[in-house]
Symmetry: C2
Subunit: 130 residues, 2 copies
Amino acid sequence: MARAATTSDAFNAVAEPRRREILNFIALEERPVGEIVDSLGLEQPSVSKHLRVLRDVGLVHVRRDGRRMLYRTNAEAIRPLHEWTETFERYWRHQLSRVKERAERKSSPSNDSQPDFSRRRKDDFDSNKN
Amino acid sequence: MARAATTSDAFNAVAEPRRREILNFIALEERPVGEIVDSLGLEQPSVSKHLRVLRDVGLVHVRRDGRRMLYRTNAEAIRPLHEWTETFERYWRHQLSRVKERAERKSSPSNDSQPDFSRRRKDDFDSNKN
DNA sequence: TTGACATATTCCCATATAGGCATGTAATGT
DNA sequence: ACATTACATGCCTATATGGGAATATGTCAA
């Protein structure tokens, strides 16, 4: 099998850097295709195709205004990505403090300033262990 | 041109669902390939290939233990993803409140209006505050 | 050394790209 | 109706993919 379609989900859609740029550019307010073209320096058909992908996965909203099409980022659709990455936030915090803790010593029982990490159960992650 | 390589960055690497599952599975503690295979129900070569991609983009660390290879998620490498998605957090919040604000009327003239954007450049988006 | 175990790599292939270019289509102005 | 503007879509191609099967590499144990 080949790679999953870019339109299969937000993860695949935003893997393309140009599409991320587009999303950034139209996050604040809707913009016509022409402005995106000018701003990113891509060919118009390219932009239209990227927008098509973004639309298919719900990452943008469109609205017609005369002959122009106004696109705007649908931030909600980025949320799943945010949430997935967020799951790892505590880990890099943990890893960071570990590195900083390079005090040779094994950490003393008196814990100084570690965010509490123990709330989470291992099960949250390996839900599908055999 | 074809799609960017899966090994070109973390965005492309995590576009594949199986790779995200792997990252989840080995986020807490390092695990040998065999356990990942059992846990995800994939063929061993598949898992090895996915791990290769993850390694190439620095999303996992490896360590040899006898004949086994112990892999572990390098959460740090997920951070850029988190940060990119985070940029949009305020937007979905806005959008949410907007929806709740269903006050029909266009917003009153004196309010938190947005700065002038009409003539900004390509990567203008970043310098906004909430 | 030989064999068993654990993991990695290679080969093959159907599939989906992204870009360039040409063309199609919708809305507007005259 | 016609020309023009603003997008969208179709066609083409080189390229990378992920899965399966087979094989290679590496490590330990007897």
